[in-house]
């Protein structure tokens, strides 16, 4: 049986590895658009700061694929899928038949409609090398601008501070993660950034970049700003052209069940590109983070080899902006929650937001309150009814357990 995996990131590579572990007789083909062996995108900020050398970001050697009997096609992408005749067309003109197909294509970074030297993105190793070059050309004290209010914006803020570049951050909403966080939490983050020397411009749209050959500034809906370097973090989008055309059902991501099966037979999807049914929070969610990608890869391998096991994971993502730890656990979709309650207030050193559905905790965001992490993760896992003791939970000075 031949399993074709589209996407050589951590989800696709884990699926390939696990498939061979479960059944060495399987023929596994791994198609990777990036012409590089698997590396950790999470290590890229460490690489820019010089904490690890370039070779340390790689998690697999190029020889690993052959040693493990995985046919690796680097630098190749899929251009179309024919589900009736079970084959994919590749960018090199070949047609590749499959018995099972796993889509693990991740997402593409959203770009501004204009470009200029000095504008940077932060998704892959190429972006990172480019940014490193820009940073090396930018003397400390030069003005930097960050555009975006999410995880990548935090990375830029930390990197620019590390390089002593005075930074202004602009984003569309009132605060970071505008559709997830309450105004109280958003204000806490804004205040923390301001206290640490960052100029924060909420409700601001980037309209234009200035400069002839190199960036000299940006024009925003709130005026002009000088900028030698601009870090853009506007999220990712799914390149769904060939996927939707083939009839694979998509919503915000490719729709699957808890075993990562799509609506079409023998076609599966995992990783950042997927919107899967999560039995822990009893809803279809997206979970674009490292551990989720690994667990998706392992779970789909079990589905394909006949050892079906639904996904069991309380997904979490952790980041840090200038010393403020921020942790997202479980399902933090505000619209899908019946109620969101706060533990702490803007004036405190931290706030935890709890997302409740049908009386159970389904998600949480912790800002500067790391000690809440373990008990809240357990509560989400065990579908703990917390409605009756909300008074105690909302008191930030009372321990959760």
């Amino acid at each position: 049986m031949r399993v074709v995996i589209v996407g050589g990131g951590v989800a696709g590579t884990t699926a390939a590895e696990e498939l061979k572990k479960q059944d060495p007789s399987l023929e596994v083909v791994l198609i990777s658009e990036e012409p590089l062996a698997l590396y950790s995108r999470v290590l890229l900020p460490h690489y820019i700061k010089g904490k690890v050398p370039r070779e340390r970001v790689f998690l697999k050697k190029e020889s690993w694929y052959e040693e493990n009997n995985i046919e690796w096609l680097p630098g190749i992408s899929v251009t179309s899928l024919d589900p009736d005749n079970a084959f994919v067309s590749l960018s090199d003109g070949r047609e590749l038949p499959y018995d099972r197909l796993i889509i693990a294509t991740g997402g593409d970074v959203r770009h501004l409609p204009f470009d200029l030297r000095g504008v940077s993105y932060f998704r892959n190793l190429d972006d990172t090398e480019h940014m490193l070059q820009l940073l090396n050309e930018t003397p400390s004290g030069s003005p930097a601008v960050v555009y975006g209010g999410g995880f990548i914006a935090c990375e830029y803020i930390n990197l620019f501070a590390y390089r002593s570049l005075p930074t202004t951050i602009c984003f569309r909403g009132k605060h970071f993660w505008n559709s997830v966080l309450s105004n109280e939490s958003g204000e806490l983050i804004n205040n923390h950034l301001k206290k640490n020397g960052v100029t924060v411009l909420p409700d601001t749209v980037l309209e234009k970049v200035l400069g002839e050959k190199e960036l000299t500034g940006v024009i925003t809906s709130n005026g002009e700003l000088p900028a030698k370097i601009l870090g853009v973090g506007m999220g990712i989008e799914l390149d769904r052209s060939w996927i939707e055309k083939a009839g694979v059902e998509c919503n915000r991501g490719i729709k699957t069940n808890e075993f990562f099966e799509t609506n079409l037979p023998n076609i599966y999807a995992i990783g950042d590109a997927v919107e899967f049914y999560d039995p822990t929070v009893e809803r279809s969610i997206q979970a674009g983070n490292w551990l989720s990608a690994i667990v998706h890869g392992r779970t789909v391998a079990k589905t394909i080899t006949g050892n079906r096991e639904e996904i069991k994971l309380v997904s979490s993502y952790s980041t840090n902006a200038l010393g403020l730890e921020m942790i997202f656990i479980g399902d933090t979709n505000r619209e899908a929650a019946d109620k969101v309650v706060l533990r702490g207030k803007t004036e405190d050193t931290g706030i935890t937001e709890l997302f409740i559905r049908s009386g159970c905790l389904v998600g949480a965001v912790l800002l500067g309150r790391n000690s809440d992490r373990a008990p809240l993760t357990k509560w989400i896992q065990s579908k703990e009814q917390i409605e009756s003791h909300l008074d105690r939970i909302q008191n930030p000075n009372e321990p959760l357990v």
Binding site: V10, S40, R41, V42, L43, H46, K51, V52, R56, L59, N289, W290, L291, I294, L313, V314, S316, Y317, S318, T319, N320, E325, I327, N370, S371, R373, A374
Partner: protein, 89 residues
């Protein structure tokens, strides 16, 4: 039973907690949002970023899987002679 040393590089750890999810008897997050090493869920002394312990082969496999799942490769595992088992050098 193999005797191993498990060490977390605090500077590399970003608090992703993947090791804790995969191997909860060996790792836990502390209040600094860093992973600490436990001895099979027991805490004979204060939590630590480095611990030497005797483990069964199956426990070692789980600890290795926890280390392999770390996106910043912040978990190091050494054998009794001090040879680095993970990450591969």
């Amino acid at each position: 039973m193999p005797k191993i040393t498990v060490k977390v590089d605090v500077d590399l750890c970003i608090g992703a907690a993947s090791c804790v999810t995969i191997a909860p008897e060996t790792f836990q997050m502390n209040n600094e949002n860093k992973a600490e090493v436990l001895d099979r869920g027991l805490i004979p002394d204060t939590p630590s970023y480095e611990r030497t312990m005797e483990v069964t082969d199956s426990e070692l496999a789980t600890i290795m899987m926890g280390a392999e799942s770390c996106p910043t490769l912040a978990v190091f595992i050494f054998d009794e002679e001090g040879k680095q088992l993970f990450p591969e050098e």
